[in-house]
Assembly symmetry: C2
Homo-oligomer: 285 residues x 2
């Protein structure tokens, strides 16, 4: 059996640093294709290019991927143009642009840069112990048990018609941060819950790039429904995730000039912070 | 009179999207040239390229600049290679690489991508009022009055010898977050203070890119002196700063796998959040 995520993020080497992909309709949400899903495809292309160019370095894991969103993607063919910027001993940096041809013209969708290395080699129990002693092992939020949480797959059919993305996930929202679905947003700017993929595909560093943009925008919880296009999103993967339910938390602290910041953190089933991101997005009109 | 910042960030158009600069020795700190100063040079090159290519669009202000640090810069000649990725109605995105020639070979120092627009046009009193009502106008920390704060220019001569950068700033540190200078770090991972340039050059959006990386690393306050090289830094400029003293706050919430996250916020003299950044940096050894 092939998991949905692996099937839908498959890439094909075209040579010269170019990788083809087919954006699957199952990851559509509202007016476009989910940004986290697109980041995972870009993340795979960067890993493939580094494996091809520097097979012995083992720079297989994303440590930091920053991405500027240029235009909305559509389901169908796409390709990633990669270029190695620098390859060092511990890290390699690659620029990668996701492109779709529209009426014969290449239209860039996302301009990304990724710094990759080896998360296993970076893992350092002494550093983690020092971090814990200093209170720098950011704890996961306390969530109600799974059975008291709200399943995203239980959304009404009219919502799922415009957001087939919901069927990819097994998200269980903390009810306190999901009341916007009933027209009663908490106005705290927080959305959090338990996370897994619908078909139980285990998470890994590339999949974490997708998880960081999997939940609805926090503006839903601020009483601002509608599309909130991302301008920029930077993801940091901090550790390899253990199997099992992850916890995801999105929060907004600042809104100004028609833009808002949205921070995301992901913890694995052992409570370890495994990924974080910050995005700057356009406030819904 | 020419301010130090303007003199030292001067760029010269070489054509074909290339801009020359001379990295000034006054911005050296420890083993390299200050990253914020380099970001300001990159930021100026992006603005110049957009003004040259699209003179009527007015995409003069950085909204988001993400940068991957590849190798340590040295004082002397450098150049920025820019390439417009997309130019739209509200925003334009440009990739920009800072390069220095070493023994005749180009060595990339920083790979950046900037999304620019017009902060005056983005400014929206209705959005700001909504943000304030929602508690999303992040307040500045309360600092002791200027005269009770610690001047960075009062650092001992042996410190200033390896950090001439200190003479560029009029920073006054909150004493509670400056005890690391006396060997008594608070271990809170916070460094904050009042900020201005030493020669009172007013801040503007490009200068804010520099301010976001102007303070010592928070690891000083965690009892880890030493160089903390930046892997990635993303800056968001949220508003044009008003004249007068700014407030800058750096805080670290997470450390893992030999890396730590450092978040920075800058408020202007009216208390408005004008810029923020997050960087992922290597823990000092």
């Amino acid at each position: 059996m092939t998991y949905e995520f692996d099937r839908d993020t498959g890439i094909q080497a075209f040579g010269d640093g170019r990788y083809g992909a087919v954006l699957a309709p199952g990851w559509v949400v509202g007016g476009g294709v989910n940004g986290g899903y697109l980041l995972a495809i870009i993340g795979k292309a960067i890993a493939a290019e580094l494996a091809e160019r520097f097979p012995t370095k083992g720079h297989v894991d994303p440590f930091s991927v920053s991405s500027h969103f240029l235009s909305a993607s559509t389901p169908g063919p796409a390709y990633v143009v990669t270029e190695v910027v620098r390859s060092g001993g511990r890290f390699s940096t690659v620029s990668a642009t996701l492109v779709q041809d529209v009426e014969g013209e290449p239209v860039p969708r996302i301009a990304a840069t990724g710094t990759y290395g080896d998360l296993d080699r970076a893992h350092d129990p002494a550093s983690d112990a020092a971090a814990a002693a200093l209170g720098l092992a950011l704890p996961a939020p306390l969530l109600p048990p799974l059975e008291q949480c709200v399943e995203s797959r239980d959304a009404p059919p009219e919502v799922k018609a415009i957001a087939p993305l919901l069927d990819r996930f097994g998200t269980r929202f903390d009810p306190a941060t999901a009341m916007w679905a009933l027209g009663q947003p908490s106005k705290q700017g927080v959305i959090q819950g338990w996370f897994k993929l619908a078909d139980d595909r285990p998470l890994d560093p590339i999949a974490l790039l997708m998880v960081l943009d999997a939940l609805p925008p926090t503006t839903f919880d601020l009483g601002m429904p509608g599309w909130a296009p991302t301008l920029e999103l930077t993801a940091h993967v901090r550790a390899k995730p253990a199997p099992g339910w992850a916890i995801v938390r999105h929060a907004t602290r600042t809104m100004a000039g028609g833009l808002f910041e949205e921070d995301c953190e992901v913890w694995d089933s052992t409570g370890t912070l495994v990924a974080q991101s910050r995005q700057l997005a356009l406030q819904p009109r």
